[in-house]
Each structure stands twice: as structure tokens, then as C-alpha cells.
């Protein structure tokens, strides 16, 4: 077995975290090797070191048997290493070709030879079977295509070793399958691939070997064919985990939220919601599935009063809330766990106690006139911290000091404790580790069982499938199908999410 990359004894310390602790990792020629671990386990840090974005505090790197010193991405590129980052590194208002040639431009005299660039990109795309228009602007193409641009960027620079960081996070199931084929083709062409992921299913279907990382340390490297999902999950988390959520069948009651032909525009004034119709009942979790950017964020913003609608209406328990202010909406009984806890869930530079009462800070018992009652606020925060198992020294630390999982628990605690008629949970487990995910899921199911209506929006299909009672698929600003979660399959959802139709497939799935 020929080793193309070998990393020995890599240690990297960030303020307060040992991101990599004496890590050994090797990549064989022509294999797909998965780096598996939870968020924050140190997978990306390790690969950023290999790509020259970080410098290790100690350890050695060998590429093709030679000891190397990778100081910048430029060095890595020269060694034939290419990286596709989780958050795409694309200039959004450049064309596909411009993004690919950036830093290695074909020249004609002192100018960039754009014609040559477009030709080169086309040739490269054809070679690997990518369908892509070199002259398209990045912001106009789909996320799946953007990812292909990223891969082409690496190949254009002659990469033989490809690192892909969480490549499937933003793709539909069909696009994931397509990616699998692309990767197999690349391996056939003699490339070696490192795949960073925390999704176990993809590990099993895509990889040859797996290296499991936990809290900065390598736990083991195993052959995929000799392991199982449960075994991998246990190594990743460090204990036995249940990947299935236990929940009783839903007992849906009356309609709590009714959305009728709701329309809205995005920040550029283009329509993003094109007549959404939806009902959410008490005692059920309605999941909205869809590829990012199809209107789910805007839908939530409209229902929570953060965005103006341009048509239609939404009704909570018979009361029309269209166009009402966020405060009126909160008081009417809608609580909201926002998709971005840093931007909208918390004021990071406020204490936990202050964060705990946001949204009801203005009313008794937390305020009297213009005075805040800090004794009551702190007492209340302590209750939330205890009830939701938020790991923090006390209620006076700033929200920014907590880990992502504990921050999210704090947001969930505050919103659930508002005792709402409708609880909106937008990507409630984004970036959380398995333990915290389990906990948040349990609380959402508890709320359902208490007879609340829960509207769940998630980009993680597994989360939607596991948690929801009914699943609505949003595509291009419309609800294109509503499925019963018991009968829905990933494949059906994938077709709907990509704008396809189930009509000629079978009739049974649609409720």
C-alpha cells in the first residue's frame, strides 16, 4: 500500500482547546478515506493543517514519502493537495471560470486570457463528466453545482489528493448519490480522497477506510467493510447512542396555525414565497424539508414578524396575525428557536440571565415600569438552566462563553418556557453534537405530547424523517407536497426537494 499522505504526532492548540492531540493519520493512494467525528472533534483543524491554513504546534507531515513543511495553501497546492471547504470558498459575483482560474490565470501578454480560461474549464469539466457552464455567475447556480466548481478548482491546479469537508451537508439525496459517482470516477483517475463527515450513512456507502476522531484524538482507523454503523457511532461519541427517536404516535388535534397563499420577497425584491399553504395542528410535529434557499428561512421570518409579507395571510387559533409586530406575535403565542442562534437567538454579550428573559423582559415579573427586577430574572434563569441541563458555571456568564450545544439549550429553554401555542424550531440542532441533538429532539417531542403544535424546519433530512409526524416539502417558494412521515422515504423527499413530482411514481405517499 503506497502512502500519499502521512501525518505524525500532529498537535494544535487553540486558546482553551486542544483541537488536535498527537494525531496520526495516513492516506493510501487511490482510496476514499473518511475522517469521522462530531462537530468540534478536530477533523477540519487537522485538514486545515494539511492544507496550510493552520500551522501545527508540533508533528510532521509526509507527502509521497517526503517530509514537507506546508506554510500556506500555495505550498499545499504545489504538493498536489486540493481542498473543498465546507463553506464554499467562491467569490459569489464572479463567473465559474473566474473562480476556477483565480490565482493561476492563463495569460495573454499582461491580460487574463479569458477565452483560454473558459476553454480549459470546459475541457476539465467534460473530462470528469461535470455539466457546468463556465460563464455562469456563482450566485445564479445551485449549491450542488457550486460544489462541482470547488472540485474543479482543485483539479485545475493539478490536485492528486482531494480533501472534501462535509461535502454532503448542503446536497439533496440525489446530489449526494451523484457526488458518490464523481468521487469513484476521481479515484479511478488515480486521485486519493479524504472525506470529512459526521454522517454515518455516507461513511458506509462511500469510503474504503475510516479514521475516527474524538475530542482531538484519533480513536481508531478501520476498514469500512469490517465495521458497522452502530460500531462507528459508538466510537465517535464514546458511548452507546440510540440513533432512533422513541416517540408515540401523534394525536393531532385542532388546527393551530393556518397559512393561506402567503407571499413574500427577498432582499433583492424577488419573490421567494409564491403562495405557501400549510396547516399545523396541535399535538403534531410538522417538518418542512427542502434544500437551503427555497424559502424556508423567509417563511419563518414572515410568521415571526421579521419580514413583511406581500400577500396572503397566516392565522393562529383563529386570529389573523399577518403584518403584526414580533411582539404582538409572541404575545399571541408563537415561540421561535431561530436558525442562527448567534444572530437571532442570543445576545452574545449579554449574561445568560438577561438572555433568558428576552422577549418577556418588558413585562412583570421581570420589569416594573422602567426598572428591571434582576433578582427575579436571575432566579428565573437558574430555573431554566436547571430544567434544561445547560452546562454553565452560573447564570451571570456571557452567552458567548458557552459551547454551541449549551447555547442552543438556553435558546430552546427560553422559547419552550414561553409555553407557546406554536413552537417554531428552525434547524434546532445545527452544529450540535450527538448528545445535545438527542436532548433537543426529546424536548421537541415532549412539547408535541403536551399538545403543542411544532413547526420544524431542517436541512437535515434524517432529522425531518425521525422527528416529524407530517412532512411538507418546500421548493422554490411553494409547498410541493405533504407526506405522512410514516410512509415517506428519503428518495421521495429527494425528488420533491429537487422540484420533481411523485405523480407518475405512485399515489400512496401523498396525503
Amino acid at each position: 500500500m503506497e502512502k500519499v499522505v502521512e501525518m505524525r504526532g500532529i498537535t494544535k492548540v487553540f486558546p482553551g482547546v486542544r483541537a488536535n492531540d498527537d494525531v496520526n493519520f495516513e492516506l493510501a493512494k487511490g482510496e476514499i478515506h473518511v475522517l469521522l467525528g462530531e462537530n468540534g472533534a478536530g477533523k477540519t483543524t487537522l485538514m486545515n493543517i494539511l492544507y496550510g491554513l493552520y500551522q501545527p504546534d508540533s508533528g510532521e507531515i509526509y507527502v509521497n514519502g517526503k517530509k514537507v513543511d506546508i506554510k500556506t495553501p500555495g505550498d499545499a497546492i504545489k504538493l498536489g493537495i486540493g481542498m473543498v471547504h465546507q463553506h464554499f470558498m467562491l467569490v459569489h459575483n464572479f463567473t465559474v471560470a473566474e473562480n476556477i482560474i483565480l490565482g493561476k490565470e492563463p495569460k495573454k501578454g499582461i491580460t487574463v486570457n479569458m477565452k483560454q480560461a473558459i476553454q480549459d474549464v470546459k475541457k476539465l469539466a467534460d473530462l470528469y463528466g461535470f455539466k457546468i457552464d463556465p460563464e455562469a455567475i456563482i450566485e445564479d447556480i445551485t449549491v450542488g453545482q457550486q460544489q462541482k466548481v470547488e472540485i474543479l478548482k482543485a483539479l485545475y491546479r493539478g490536485a492528486d489528493i482531494l480533501i472534501l469537508d462535509e461535502p454532503t451537508a448542503v446536497l439533496t439525496p440525489q446530489e449526494i448519490e451523484e457526488l458518490g459517482v464523481i468521487l469513484k470516477n476521481l479515484v479511478k483517475e488515480g486521485k486519493s480522497i479524504i472525506l470529512i463527515t459526521h454522517k454515518l450513512k455516507e461513511v458506509m456507502s462511500m469510503s474504503d477506510r475510516v479514521t475516527i476522531v474524538r475530542r482531538g484524538k484519533v480513536i481508531d482507523t478501520v476498514r469500512t467493510s469490517e465495521t458497522s454503523i452502530d460500531r462507528l457511532a459508538e466510537m465517535m461519541v464514546g458511548r452507546k447512542v440510540s440513533l432512533k427517536i422513541d416517540k408515540a404516535p401523534a394525536k393531532p388535534g385542532k388546527v393551530v396555525l393556518e397559512i393561506k397563499d402567503l407571499r413574500a420577497q427577498d432582499h433583492r425584491g424577488l419573490p421567494v414565497l409564491k403562495g405557501v399553504n400549510l396547516e399545523v395542528r396541535s399535538g403534531e410535529i410538522l417538518g418542512i424539508a427542502g434544500v437551503d434557499g427555497n424559502g424556508q428561512s423567509e417563511l419563518i421570518e414572515v410568521i415571526t414578524g421579521l419580514r413583511k409579507s406581500t400577500g396572503g395571510k397566516f392565522i393562529l387559533n383563529g386570529k389573523d396575525l399577518t403584518g403584526k409586530s414580533p411582539r404582538e406575535i409572541i404575545e399571541a403565542g408563537i415561540a421561535h428557536i431561530p436558525e442562527d442562534r448567534h444572530k437571532r437567538g442570543l445576545v452574545l454579550k449579554y449574561s445568560l440571565a438577561e438572555n433568558a428573559v428576552l422577549g418577556k423582559h418588558y413585562a412583570a415579573p421581570f420589569a416594573k415600569g422602567i426598572m428591571m427586577n434582576y433578582a427575579r430574572i436571575k432566579e428565573y434563569a437558574r430555573t431554566l438552566i436547571r430544567d434544561f441541563d445547560v452546562r454553565t458555571p452560573n447564570e451571570e456568564v456571557m452567552a458567548s462563553a458557552l459551547s454551541g450545544g449549551n447555547q442552543q439549550k438556553m435558546v430552546a429553554a427560553r422559547e419552550i418556557n414561553k409555553d407557546p401555542e406554536l413552537l417554531i424550531a428552525a434547524q434546532p440542532t445545527r452544529g450540535l453534537d450527538v448528545g445535545a441533538i438527542e436532548y433537543i429532539h426529546k424536548r421537541l417531542v415532549m412539547e408535541r405530547d403536551r399538545g403543542r403544535a411544532v413547526l420544524l424546519v431542517s436541512l437535515e433530512l434524517d432529522e425531518i424523517l425521525n422527528l416529524s409526524d407530517r412532512i411538507a416539502v418546500i421548493y422554490d417558494g411553494e409547498i410541493v407536497g405533504i407526506l405522512d412521515a410514516k410512509n415517506a422515504t428519503e428518495n421521495e423527499l429527494g425528488i420533491l426537494m429537487a422540484g420533481g413530482s411523485l405523480k407518475n411514481k405512485k399515489e400512496g405517499g401523498i396525503v
Partner: protein
């Protein structure tokens, strides 16, 4: 100037271009700096330094060409302070820019005393000679050309040069990438810091030249406060022009037109208070910015310091 022999419209057009020249040059400086992601609010101060050192260079060497060189170098030195503060030390770019504006005003009045032993303004120095009579001899547009100066031509040529660099060369592609998404550029081996240094120092060179065009180009002397906010108007022109060289040029010309018009219009003898004419350039600037700025978008990473290896 014997305006009397020229139709008012021609005089107005020529005056517009003369007034626009410092604005165009400085706004091109702004385009370079901000396209690479560094807000350069210090352009006003850089112009002040350019205006002073342009005069000083000509005074010292007797050659206005050397004066221009002095102005450019002074602009580059002052802007490299801004570059160091905002790129290397990641200081707040607006604060750094304001500091440069304050510093430049103080420095030039101090040097005025030390180098010229004068207060308020310098003596007149040699300026670039412009072949007025020859220009007037050119048929049809001769009258118009004779009212210009060399700086007008420099400014317009530099608009083309800036456009060429930004949109046709690999350097330009890299500059724009660094201003939009520095991390993307970094991961492709583009040196973000080097590009930003280059652009800020280039903006200093252009700002210095803009200052020289003001002092050497119009009055042959340096007077305290002669820049009088033109650096800021140039920034407004850059924004109004959508961070594009030609856009910035047209916006500069528009603002300069209002300025030139107020002078000409005061001679019309209309029954309007002259204060209205004086306010016209500012009113126009406000209308333009309020009405159109919403539709242009700044480079995404404009004003955001780049930190390598940030989590």
C-alpha cells in the same frame, strides 16, 4: 482667463472637467483601496499632503514634474501608515482614516511654518506649462481644450488604466477577489495582505496626485484647508459610481458640474439668492447618494480586516 471670448456652455464644460479632476483621481484611489477590502476614509488627508508636497517639491527643485512626484510619494507614505494600521494591526479602518485626516492637517500647517516660514499659504511656485495658444489653434474644440490643464488628461487616462487593471489583468481579478472573499483568494494561494498593501499604497499615490492637481493645477500654491472635504466628495463619487472606475468618473463629473454651475450661474443675474447656488453641489450630492446608493453594493469584505487561520 478670458471667458468672455467663449460661449458660456463651453466655459462651463471646461470648468466642470477642471473641478472634476481631483475628484476623479482621488475616487480612483478609493476604488483601488475599497475593491481590495480596505476602507480609506483618509483620502482627504492624503490629498492635503499631496497638495502640500506637490508645491514643496516644485518650490525646492523648481520643476513642477518633481513636485508631482513629491506629491505621489507623500501620498504613498501616508497611506502606508493607514495600510499598516488597518491591514497589519487590524485597527478600525474608519478610526485610522480619521486619524490620518487629522494628522495631515496638522502636519501640513506645521511644515508650512518650518519649510516656508509662512502661515496660511505658501508662495506661488512653478506649475506645469499648458500650451494654451497651441490648443486654441485646434479647430472646433480648440477653445474648449485651451481651458483645460494636463491633470484633466492624466485623470481621464488613469480612469482607463484603472479599468484595464481591474477587469483585464490577473492582478485585477485578484484584487476584486480579495475584496469580495479574501479567504477564497487565500486558499488559492493569493497573498491577501500583499494585494491589500499594494492597493492602499496605490490609492495613496492617486490621492497624492489628486492633491497636486488641486494645488499645482489650479492656484500654484498651497493654502491651508484648500482640499475642503474633496476627499470625502471623491469617496461619495466612488460609492455613487458603484466602486467602478468609469462610474466614479461620471459621478465626479456630476458633482463637479454642480460646483462649476454655481459659479457660472451667479453671473446669470437670476432672482435667486446666491446661497442657493453655493448649496447646489451639496444638495446634488445628497440627492444622488440618498437616491441611488441603495442600489449599488459594496465589495463584500470592504472594511473587514483579514485574519489568517481564524476559526
Amino acid at each position: 482667463m478670458d471667458n468672455a471670448s467663449l460661449p458660456v456652455v463651453v466655459a462651463l464644460m471646461a470648468a466642470t472637467l477642471r473641478q472634476a479632476t481631483p475628484l476623479i483621481l482621488a475616487s480612483l484611489g478609493g476604488v483601488f483601496s475599497e475593491r481590495s477590502g480596505v476602507v480609506n476614509i483618509g483620502l482627504d488627508g492624503i490629498m492635503t499632503c499631496g497638495a502640500f508636497f506637490g508645491v514643496y517639491g516644485s518650490y525646492k527643485t523648481g520643476s513642477p514634474a518633481m513636485g508631482i512626484l513629491f506629491a505621489i510619494i507623500a501620498g504613498m507614505i501616508v497611506s502606508s501608515i493607514h495600510a499598516f494600521l488597518s491591514i497589519h494591526l487590524k485597527a478600525d479602518q474608519v478610526v485610522s482614516g480619521v486619524a490620518i485626516n487629522l494628522f495631515s492637517g496638522a502636519l501640513t500647517s506645521y511644515l508650512l511654518l518650518v519649510l516656508f516660514n509662512r502661515q496660511g499659504q505658501t508662495d506661488g511656485v512653478n506649475a506645469l506649462t499648458y500650451p494654451k495658444a497651441f490648443m486654441r489653434g485646434i479647430p472646433v474644440i480648440g477653445g474648449f481644450l485651451s481651458e483645460l490643464n494636463w491633470y484633466v488628461f492624466m485623470a481621464i487616462i488613469l480612469v482607463f488604466v484603472t479599468y484595464f487593471i481591474l477587469y483585464k489583468t490577473s492582478l485585477g481579478l485578484r484584487i476584486r477577489a480579495v475584496g469580495e472573499h479574501p479567504k477564497a483568494a487565500d486558499t488559492l494561494g493569493v497573498n491577501v495582505y500583499a494585494i491589500r498593501y499594494l492597493c492602499v499604497i496605490l490609492s495613496g499615490a492617486l490621492g497624492g496626485l489628486a492633491g497636486a492637481s488641486l494645488s499645482l493645477g489650479t492656484t500654484n500654491l498651497f493654502r491651508e484647508g484648500m482640499v475642503s472635504g474633496r476627499g470625502f466628495i471623491a469617496l461619495a463619487a466612488m460609492i455613487f459610481g458603484g466602486w467602478r472606475p468609469f462610474g466614479a468618473m461620471w459621478a465626479s463629473i456630476l458633482f463637479a458640474f454642480a460646483d462649476a454651475f454655481q459659479i457660472v450661474a451667479q453671473g446669470f443675474g437670476w432672482a435667486i439668492p446666491y446661497q442657493f447656488y453655493s448649496a447646489l453641489p451639496y444638495i446634488l450630492t445628497m440627492i444622488a447618494l440618498a437616491g441611488f446608493v441603495g442600489k449599488t453594493t459594496a465589495p463584500a469584505a470592504d472594511g473587514v480586516p483579514y485574519t489568517k487561520g481564524e476559526r
